[in-house]
């Protein structure tokens, strides 16, 4: 039996000790003496969240397939253990070996959302690794960040040695070989980072410098040495069928958020909703072969014993073999008593039929994400969903026995007016009215329940809205208040429930999303002042953050509410995600003139992602007016 890093006394004192003991089914234990490189893969949030993340499972599986590498997992100790570890000076450890993270060669941190930034500092701090990359020595692990937030790594640039830009499956082998080679030649840490900086997709912040204009915007961002690339191209898996995917994902003992087999059916999304970062970052859409998915579904269920399987992708309804896959799963799963969990499919006859078979209609709810209340604003954000489609879908569903509907909207979108906000209430009301018109009294099972939720819009890098000003906290709250009042004025208001988000966290998220290198000192200051687990409402300390901004002399409005000019150099401009800035500008202008843009399957827009020579860009289109992809060219 393996030793534990924590004593029984500690484990019996903390909440959920299973977070810290490892030993889960399918976790990988290797003989330390037979491997060359130790990799600690970290999701900087609590175990139950981190264990639910597919990306980590993919990379964990891939790295452990390398014979010379042992990859282990690390999550953020919850606050109770955090305090004990600090008081007793217990170094942060990896779950499998329970060895200190500081002894590892690499510490990889996946950065999935902005509000985890202080948790990253906690990981480094507890591990005993200097927070500032420049203070690290040859005895510290190489700290490498990845994930969607790495597409604007600048607010974190001081804390990381390297960032991996793009999909993780492609460059780690090369990176590790480079590391081994450098070690064999007794090269220094700096030597390794310099070589790594020349690998595709790898960004080494310490080899770049920024200069600023008097108004605070960026003048120049440039490499400081010959041979270091000025532009970092994102990495991408061109064949998502013939690549790494875990057959034996780790099965946690305790209930985690995603307690099921997750089958990623495709990467990317054909729909260019203009607020959506994922829709741009993962272009072009690449589908997995349906036979491969069937095979993996069976193997993964067998190897984990999970009683549920879920399909994962940004927009599953767009997967071309969805019907075939779902029929296969329904057949296999019913036989094996496995539940199928379908992520928000577009509501149509097919999906209602499937949902009817796999869910308890009375208990489940329909989900629509119109994102904006009026057709005008939906055109601005390029969300193809129309009121007719929503109402038709809802009516069909009501006939089928559903009575609950969830609606997701955003407040604070560019060009939004009071009319658009009232549209949220009106649409919710129309759906409720449709229920009462469709379902005769004697068949009703109480009232219908419409839950309208709003989040606050935060402009993200690499989207057409990256130029848009974000609302202030006060504007956000006014909008939420207006939404609530408008809903209360509706005839069917008793059937509508309204939820809205915290505004403070949205403001902060906006700073990190479009922040530059200067934001790092605020993150450091806030962490030192006790901020941690900012993504968790109960632990988020907004007043401390505001103090930290003040003490560092940084203006929140510069990053959030400021109007950006079309020729401004953005902190993330040195990264290429495949989609050209020209295309994004074009889309921004079309947004302001309320013009919709067809999706990739209808008509290629020449966004630039065709340079990867794969996926939807090279599918045959039926429409006679379809264009052949042009690499970054304008329409």
């Amino acid at each position: 039996m393996n030793k534990l890093a924590l004593s029984d006394e500690i484990l019996l004192k903390v909440e959920k000790p299973a977070r810290y003991i490892g030993n889960e089914v399918n976790s990988v234990v290797k003989d330390k003496s037979k491997i060359d490189v130790r990799f600690a893969m970290c999701f900087p949030d609590v175990y139950e969240i981190g264990m639910s993340h597919l990306g980590i499972q993919i990379l964990y599986d891939m790295l452990n397939r390398f014979e010379d590498v042992w990859c282990e997992r690390v999550y953020s100790p919850w606050i109770d253990l955090d305090q004990i570890m600090r008081a007793q000076q217990i170094p942060l450890f990896a779950l499998e070996s329970q060895d200190p993270v500081k002894e590892f060669d690499f510490l990889g941190i996946t950065i999935q959302y902005e509000m985890c930034y202080t948790n990253i500092l906690q990981i480094l701090d507890l591990a005993g690794i200097p927070l500032m990359a420049e203070e690290r020595t040859d005895s510290d692990p190489i700290v490498i960040g990845g994930g969607p937030c790495a597409y604007n790594p600048e607010p974190l640039a001081d804390f990381f040695d390297l960032f991996y830009i793009g999909e993780g499956e492609t460059q780690y082998r090369e990176l590790i070989d480079l590391y081994k080679e450098n070690r064999a030649q007794s090269g220094s840490r700096r030597d390794f980072l310099r070589k790594a900086a020349k690998l595709p997709g790898i960004y080494a912040p310490s080899f770049y410098q920024v200069s600023y204009h008097a108004d605070g915007t960026i003048d120049r961002f440039y490499p400081t040495e010959e041979g270091i690339p000025a532009i970092i191209e994102k990495e991408l898996v061109s064949d998502v069928t013939d690549t790494y995917y875990p057959e034996k994902p780790v099965v946690p003992f305790i209930k985690v958020t995603q307690d099921r087999v997750v089958l990623e059916i495709q990467r990317g999304c054909i729909r260019g909703c203009r607020f959506c970062q994922a829709g741009q970052l993962y272009r072009p859409v690449r589908e997995r072969d349906v036979d491969m998915l069937k095979e993996y579904a069976v193997k993964m269920l067998k190897n984990t014993g999970h009683e549920e399987i879920s399909l994962s992708s940004l927009s599953s309804s767009d997967y071309s073999k969805l019907e075939e896959l779902v029929s296969f799963l329904m057949e296999t799963c019913t036989r094996e008593h496995v539940n199928i969990c379908l992520p928000s499919l577009r509501i149509d006859a097919f999906s209602l039929d499937v949902m009817n078979k796999v869910q308890d209609v009375k208990k489940s709810s329909l989900t629509f994400a119109p994102e904006a209340g009026s057709q005008r604003l939906r055109n601005v954000i390029n969300k193809g969903l129309t009121e007719e489609v929503i109402l038709e879908g809802a009516v069909e569903a009501f006939k089928g026995g559903w009575s609950r509907v969830k609606l997701y909207f955003m407040l604070g979108l560019p060009t939004e007016t009071e009319e658009d906000i009232r549209g949220i209430a009106e649409l919710s009301n129309k759906i409720a009215a449709a229920y009462y018109e469709t379902v005769p009294k004697q068949k009703r099972n109480g009232k219908c329940q419409i839950v309208a939720s709003t989040s606050f819009f935060i402009p993200k890098p690499f989207t057409p809205f990256q130029w848009a000003p974000q609302c202030t906290k006060e504007q956000f709250l006014d909008k939420a208040y207006l939404t609530r009042t408008a809903i209360m004025e509706q005839l069917n208001q008793k059937s509508i429930k309204y939820n809205w988000h915290e505004a403070d966290a949205s403001v902060l998220e906006g700073v990190f999303a479009r922040g530059d290198r200067r934001v790092a000192k605020v993150i450091l200051r806030a962490y030192q002042k006790g901020c941690l687990y900012d993504a968790w409402g109960e632990t988020f300390k907004n007043d401390v953050w505001l103090e930290a901004f003040k003490e560092c002399g940084l203006d929140i409005g510069f990053y959030t509410t400021r109007e950006r000019s079309l020729d401004e150099v953005f902190p993330w401009d040195f990264i290429s995600c495949g989609v050209s800035k020209e295309f994004l500008k074009r889309e921004w202008k079309r947004a302001l003139s309320e013009q919709v843009t067809p999706n990739c399957r209808m008509q290629c827009q020449g966004c630039g992602a065709a340079q990867y020579k794969c996926g939807v860009c090279f599918e045959k289109r039926n429409e006679s007016d379809s264009m052949t992809p042009t690499e970054g060219g304008a329409l």
Partner: protein
Amino acid sequence: MKVRIQFSKHGVMKFIGHLDIMRYFQKAMRRADVDIAYSGGYSPHQIMSFAAPLGVGLESDGEYLDIEVNSHNGAEHMKQALNAVMVDGIRILSVRMLPDQAKNAMASVAAAGYLVRFRKGYEPDFDYQGTLQDFYGQDTIPFVKQTKNSEIELNLKPAIYELEIRDEAVYMLVDASSAGNIKPSMVMEAFYRFREKDLPEFALQITRTDTYTAIEEDGIKHFIPLRDVGIAF
């Protein structure tokens, strides 16, 4: 057919609570391809019942669960198939068939045996081996049970069926039935009180040695391990 499975729980697995052990076994049945029966209804679940829940922090050599199977390839095959998918710290010790009229694991539990050791650095500063029988010999063994907003005074004596020193440790066989179960730590706390001491937190390392059911033979009550209710197949 009903099958009774005995397993042990050691090492790091002592930190996994009862509900999570149940989930663990549900998944293990699927991994091992055990042809377990499912209940009917909208969300069918495996027919599975556990004996006395074990507290977090305790180890055990005598944990039991009963399952219902549709088919099988014999007890040895099932045992091997399950052991092949177990994690470190959990072993399947026996697999037996239950007679149809047997009560399920949970309902049939009457007693449990425990070996109580002292964690390093927490050994008692009094002669516990020499005074254990004085403690057990009392007519009543008082214990004050703290509940949320009241204190209940209990007499533990009738619930302690055996109490002795075994392998330098305190062995006890105590009531584990749903009606009158007591925890080994309660007995030890009462023992410390008897010696006018306080039992420190984390002092005890407890292993459940086995779980028993009661049978009557010639008017005398015996305790037999739960596995002995089952028969080989």
